[in-house]
């Protein structure tokens, strides 16, 4: 196990390093060089080449690419994420202020995905090839296929315009009004969780069916255990192991979905901050958010790998 963990750590760090290069290079091709943007936002207008060169040196843009990269990473690790060009604020502070809101959305989406996905998948497998299975399976494909933005529009129309159950947009902090907070995140988190719910349900179904076909299940039945006991004691746990991987693989989708959902519902989280930064070409903000997204996704996959290795000893050997 120790060796397995070590290997995963090295691998995760390598991927993180490569992703940071990708993000760095992407930042270089973005339009609007930071010097120009800074000049525009300070209304300096046309200035001497000397001033521009000075500023370029200040931003470190006069150095070769690999040095710029090293500088950027060093500053990032130290907690200096630069200044937002559009807001003239410290990027790290902006990020930290919005982080809890997005975390709440993530937690909510995992909640919905789990309480819909697992039961649906299990029921589907137990009632295999019945109309119930067929409708749940089709429901799962629809859940996977429906675009976040369209689901958002339809739900806003149904539950905020036609029937006024939920607010159409906006966010109320939990500390201000817990009930309104839950109402304001109910729809966004449900929408975010739908895709994972569909995937989980589908994978739980196929993996449970596979487990139920195993010899040891027949043995358990033969020794006179009730069907419920067979399921709970012998079938469900091994069937859930492969599903963990799916949750990890889908995490990127949830993160990307949060960008659209926050944009649509005017939720002042990280996704909205980054979307606005993309619109404004505010690349210190974009780069910092992308790096944190990368760290988040690599970390989630690392944990999934660990959990998987812990639950299924066969994985560790490979």
């Amino acid at each position: 196990m120790k060796q397995y963990v070590l290997k995963r750590i090295v691998y995760s760090l390598l991927i993180l390093f490569l992703v940071s290069i990708l993000i760095f290079l992407l930042g270089r091709v973005l339009p609007g060089d930071p010097v120009q943007s800074a000049l525009i936002s300070t209304r300096m207008g046309v200035v001497d080449q000397e001033v521009i060169d000075d500023l370029r040196a200040q931003f470190g843009l006069d150095k070769p690419l690999h040095q710029q990269y090293a500088l950027w990473i060093r500053n990032f690790v130290r907690g200096d994420w630069g200044m937002s060009i559009a807001y003239r604020e410290d990027v790290r502070e902006m990020f930290m202020q919005r982080l809890p809101i997005t975390m709440e959305l993530f937690a909510g989406s995992v909640f919905w995905a789990a309480i819909i996905g697992f039961p649906f998948g299990i029921i589907s497998a137990l009632r295999r090839n019945t109309w119930l299975d067929a409708s749940l399976t089709t429901g799962a494909v629809i859940g996977i296929s429906i675009p976040v933005f369209w689901q958002g529009i339809v739900m806003i129309y149904l539950f905020a315009v036609v029937v006024h159950i939920f607010p159409p947009s906006g966010y109320v902090p939990f500390s201000e009004n817990p009930w309104m907070n839950l109402l304001s995140v109910a729809m966004p988190t449900f929408i975010l969780g739908t895709h994972s719910a569909g995937l989980i349900s589908r994978y739980v179904r196929s993996s449970l069916l596979e487990v139920l076909g195993q010899d040891y299940i027949r043995t358990a039945r033969a020794k006179g255990l009730t069907e419920t006991a067979v399921l709970l004691r012998h079938a469900v746990k091994p069937a859930l192991i492969p599903v963990i991987t799916v949750i990890g693989l889908d995490w990127g989708y949830v993160v990307a979905g949060s960008f659209i959902v926050e944009y649509m519902f005017a939720i002042p989280g990280l996704g909205r901050m980054c979307m606005n930064a993309i619109f404004a070409g505010d690349f210190p903000v974009i780069q910092a958010t992308l790096i944190m997204v990368a760290i988040n996704i690599v970390a989630v996959n690392f944990m999934v790998d660990l959990l998987y290795g812990y639950l299924d000893p066969r994985v560790r050997v490979q």
């Binding site: 992703v19 992407l26 675009p147 960008f259 979307m275």
Partner: protein, 280 residues
């Protein structure tokens, strides 16, 4: 996998109810896109400023948009650009991914290591976010959307093709080809590729739906194909601001996007079941 007869696949697919549903939806969408000028009741760009934001009526079955254009016609024409972007980006991504996957799987060694780490790197970022950033960087337009989607979606093919190529390259007929002095290039494209088409087709089918979704999302956020070109994502974006007055304005184009994605997922699922019946 070897010797999968195309006709046998189609026949098996015809028995797969969900896949048939997908094919029917897809055929309708393609017919709509190809014959748009004959099907659409109005010119999609003709404005009538006296009749803006109307609900459904006899002349305008889905109503009109914010400058009085016929919504139905715009949705019909919208299928053209949306499907075109979906097909082209899938094709380019598949070509890149398959080539890299073949090289990685057949050659192995350092090349394999480099290509697979590259794949992992691209895979560890959310595609939609990277596509948004890249489209913003290049400036909006059909071409930049296709390029951005291609750059961030080739990874799935590379990974699958590599795995399959590693299995197939151990088969005796590959060794025979090597013994006859076939070049690596020839073995990869003449011997390996035809034997691993099945998973490539399944991946491409599902990716097509995903790419349509990506294009729509980018256009919905206002960074993609620019108006007045009708695309479903564009209609959705403008319609969204009038959701309370004319709900169909955004719901109709969104339904088309969903149907398209659904159709490709249905077909992809059907193909997977046909090629690999074990899972079912």
């Amino acid at each position: 996998m070897r010797g999968t007869d195309d006709w046998a696949v189609l026949r098996a697919l015809a028995k797969h109810k969900i896949a048939v549903a997908g094919i029917i939806i897809l055929v309708c969408l393609v017919v709509m896109a190809v014959f748009a000028p004959w099907i659409a009741p109005c010119d999609p760009n003709e404005q009538d400023l006296y009749r803006v934001l109307e609900g459904p009526s006899r002349e305008h079955l889905l109503g009109t948009d914010d400058v009085g254009r016929d919504l139905l016609s715009r949705v019909i024409y919208g299928s053209r650009v949306t499907l075109l972007i979906g097909v082209l980006s899938t094709l380019f991504a598949a070509i890149i991914g398959v080539m890299l996957g073949l090289v990685a799987g057949y050659k192995g060694g350092v090349l394999d290591m480099i290509i697979m780490r590259l794949t992992d790197t691209f895979m560890s970022m959310p595609v939609l976010i990277m596509v948004l950033v890249m489209v913003a960087a290049q400036g909006p337009g059909v071409r930049s959307v296709i390029v951005a989607i291609t750059v961030f979606t080739w990874t799935g093919y590379a990974r699958i093709v590599r795995g399959q190529a590693m299995l197939v390259r151990e088969l005796p007929f590959v060794e025979a080809a090597q013994a006859l002095g076939a070049s690596g290039f020839r073995i990869m494209f003449r011997h390996l590729l035809p034997n691993i088409m099945a998973p490539i087709i399944v991946t491409a089918s599902i990716a097509l739906g995903g790419n349509i979704m990506l294009e729509s999302a980018v256009s919905f956020l206002g960074l993609g194909v620019q108006p007045p070109t009708p695309t479903w994502g564009n209609e959705l974006r403008i319609g969204y601001s009038y959701l309370e007055i004319v709900p169909l304005f955004s719901i109709a184009p969104g339904l088309m996007i969903t149907l398209a994605v659904l159709a490709f997922n249905f077909i992809g699922d059907g193909l997977r079941d046909v090629y690999d019946p074990r899972i079912r």
